[in-house]
Subunit: 371 residues, 2 copies
C-alpha cells in the first residue's frame, strides 16, 4: 500500500468512505477539510537537530497545513547550507548551538521541535522555554524521570506548552486500538503483547552510546510498546519485571542493551508482555479481552499498518504520521488552546518513570513497584 499524502487521501473517496464508516476517531484534521483547504496563519516551526528523523519530519511538512518548516538549529554548517537551499529557509531563521538562545528575539519562530540525541533533550527544552517558544520534544523525553521534571518546571515557568513526539496518538489504527480497549468494546482487556524492534549495524550510531541515548531499544522503540499498553488499557501500571536479552554483538552492544523484555502489571489484572530489540525486525501489537481480540501487525512503526479484530479486518487510511502530529499540535497552539494531557511533558514523565523501573527490574531481577 502506497503511503498517501493527506491531499490524495482526501481525494480518494474509497478510502475516505472506509474511514468514515469504521468506528474510529480518525483525527478530525484529516477529514474536516475535504472541501476547503486551511488558508490561515501557519505555526512556524524550527527543527533543532538535523539527523535522520529530522528529514522524516521535513517530509511530513509537505503534507501539513497548520504549520511549516520555518527554521533550523544545527551544529553542522554544511547541513545548514543544504537545508537552507532545499527548504528555502531564510538566514535569519538558521541557528547553531552557540547562538540558539537568540531565537527569543525571532518572532518568526513559534515552536522548536527538538530532534537531538536524548541526552540533549533537557538542555534544549529548557533553553527553548527560556526563549519563550513552544516545544515538541522527541521521545524519549529525557534520560530519566528527574530530568523530565526539570523540563516540565521550566516550561511552566516560561508559560510555554511542551508536547512529546508521540506520533501514534494521531494514527487511525492506533486510535482504534485505544478506543477498543478503553471503551471495552470486547470487554475487559486481559493480555497485551507489544513488540517493536529493528536491526542495527553501525557501531558509531549515537543510539548505541549510553551517555547520549540513556539506553538501547527500550528508550528508542520500546517506549511505544509501553505507550500502547497504557493508552489501550487506560490504566497506569503498578509494577514491572524485566529481562535483558543476551549481548549478541560485543562491539554494537558494549553500552546499551541489545534487547529487553518486560511485563507490566495493571490494577485491573491486565498483564502486558513486551519486547524491544536491536537484533531483528518486529512490529506487532495484540490485545485479548473477555469477548474478543484486536491487533495490529505491522502497527507501531511508520506504517502502512494492518489490523484486525475478532470481527474482521480493519481498514483505515495510511496517513503521514508526522504531518498529522505536527498539524494536530499546531492547530491547538494557533487557537491558544491547551494541548491534550496524553501528549504533554507530564505524559513523557509517566513513561520515563516506568522506563526507569523497567531498567531497574532488568538490572536487579526484582519486581519493581512503579511510584
Amino acid at each position: 500500500m502506497k503511503k498517501l499524502s493527506r491531499r490524495s487521501f482526501l481525494l480518494n473517496t474509497g478510502l475516505a468512505v472506509t474511514a468514515s464508516t469504521a468506528a474510529v476517531a480518525v483525527p478530525s484534521l484529516l477529514l474536516s477539510n475535504a472541501d476547503s483547504k486551511y488558508t490561515g496563519k501557519r505555526l512556524n516551526i524550527a527543527l533543532c537537530g538535523l539527523g535522520r528523523y529530522a528529514s522524516i519530519l521535513a517530509d511530513g511538512f509537505q503534507d501539513a497545513e497548520y504549520c511549516k518548516l520555518a527554521g533550523i538549529i544545527t551544529g553542522t554548517p554544511s547541513k545548514a547550507e543544504a537545508w537552507k537551499k532545499q527548504y528555502d529557509i531564510p538566514d535569519k531563521n538558521i541557528y547553531n548551538y552557540q547562538n540558539f538562545d537568540n531565537i527569543k528575539n525571532n518572532k518568526d519562530i513559534d515552536l522548536v521541535y527538538i530532534v537531538l540525541p536524548n541526552s540533549m533533550h533537557k538542555e534544549y527544552t529548557i533553553r527553548a522555554a527560556k526563549a519563550g517558544k513552544h516545544i515538541i520534544c522527541e521521545k524519549p523525553m529525557a534520560l530519566n524521570a528527574a530530568d523530565c521534571e526539570e523540563m516540565i518546571e521550566a516550561c511552566k515557568n516560561a508559560g510555554v506548552q511542551l508536547a512529546i513526539g508521540y506520533r501514534l496518538h494521531y494514527e487511525p489504527y492506533n486510535l482504534e486500538m485505544k478506543r477498543l480497549g478503553q471503551e471495552k468494546v470486547f470487554g475487559q482487556v486481559r493480555l497485551i503483547e507489544a513488540s517493536l524492534g529493528y536491526r542495527t549495524f553501525d557501531p558509531n550510531e549515537w543510539r548505541l552510546k549510553k551517555a547520549m541515548s540513556g539506553g538501547g531499544p527500550l528508550m528508542n522503540v520500546g517506549i511505544y510498546c509501553l505507550q500502547s499498553s497504557r493508552y489501550v488499557s487506560g490504566e497506569e501500571p503498578l509494577s514491572v519485571t524485566a529481562q535483558f536479552g543476551p549481548v549478541t554483538d560485543k562491539q554494537l552492544f558494549a553500552e546499551v542493551e541489545a534487547s529487553i523484555m518486560w511485563q507490566l502489571n495493571f490494577p485491573s489484572g491486565l498483564v502486558s508482555n513486551c519486547t524491544s530489540t536491536y537484533n531483528c525486525n518486529v512490529d506487532r501489537f495484540f490485545a485479548s479481552a473477555d469477548d474478543g481480540q484486536f491487533e495490529l501487525s505491522p502497527g507501531i512503526s511508520y506504517g502502512p499498518f494492518k489490523g484486525r479484530t475478532s470481527n474482521g479486518e480493519l481498514h483505515f487510511p495510511d496517513i503521514n504520521q508526522q504531518a498529522a502530529q505536527m498539524d494536530g499540535i499546531s492547530k491547538l497552539l494557533l487557537e491558544n488552546k491547551p494541548l491534550p494531557s496524553h501528549i504533554t511533558g507530564e505524559e513523557g514523565l509517566k513513561d520515563m518513570k516506568v522506563i526507569d523501573a523497567i531498567y531497574k527490574a532488568a538490572a536487579t531481577g526484582e519486581k519493581i513497584m512503579i511510584v
Copy 2:
C-alpha cells in the same frame, strides 16, 4: 475454512496442489495414498480415560487408516456403556481401573492411549508397559521430570515404545515453521513469541486442581509454546526467567496459576518470550530471523490455522491433527520401527525439565539454569 477429512482433502486437487508446491514436509502419510487406501492390518488402540479430549481422539479415528479404536478403559460404567454402543466396542476390550492390568492377556489391543488427568499418567503408563502394550501418553508427560524418568525406564524394561501426544509434529503449518527455523531459511532466528490460552470457567475442572494437573495453563497449553520454541530453533534452552500473572479469580485459581509468562535463553542468543493463560483466548506463534519473519495466528490450537512469512501467506491443508498423529505413530509400530526421538518419552522429559525450571523461576523470581 471447514475442517477436511483426509479423504476429502486428498480429493481436493486445489488444496493438494497448494500443499505440494509449498516447500513443506507435509506428513507423507497424508499425501502418499491419494490413489490407494491402506487396507492392511490396523493398530488396535485402547483409550484410557474418557474425558473431553478422548472424544476428540475418537473423532480422529474416523479419519485414521493405520489404527482403530479397539478398546476403552474407564472408571465410569455409564461411559463404558455409551462408548460401547457408539463405537461398537466388544465387551472383552472394555476395562475399568481395577481390572486394567488384565489387558496384558488381550491380543486385540496393541497400544494404550493415556488421556487421564496428568497425575495419573505415570501410574497408567507403567501399568500399560508392564502389560506389554505400546503407549501414547498425553502431554504433559507427568507432574515432574522425576516421574518422566520412571516412566521411560518402565517402558524400556518392558520393551514397549512410548510416545507423547505432541499432535503439532504432524501438522503442516507447524512443520513449516520448524523447517523455516531449523533450515535457517530466513537466517538465524533471534526472537520467538509464542502464546496459547483460553478462558476457563468451571471451578470443579480437574485442570484447576493442582494434585491432578500439576499446574495451570503452562502444563496444559503453555507446553506447546515451549515445544515450538524448541523445535523451531532446534536448540535446547540454557536458562529461563518467568512470572506468574495475578490471581484474577480467587475461586478458579486457588491452586494453579491463572497465567504465566516466561523467557527462554538459547545458546545461539535466541530469546523466546512466551505466555500461557486461562484468562483469555490467545493462539499465536511468531519468529523473527536475520532476514525475515514467519508466523502463525491461529497456529497452536486444533486449527484451522493461518500463516505467513516475509514472502507472503502460507497455504496448507487443514488436517485432523489427532488422526495424523495416531496414524503416524501407528504406521511405524506396525512396521516394527522405532518412533522418532522428537515424540518419545525422552522428549516429554526434556519439556518437563524446562517446565520444572519455569515454575521454579516464577516462584523465586530468579533466572534458573536448565540442566
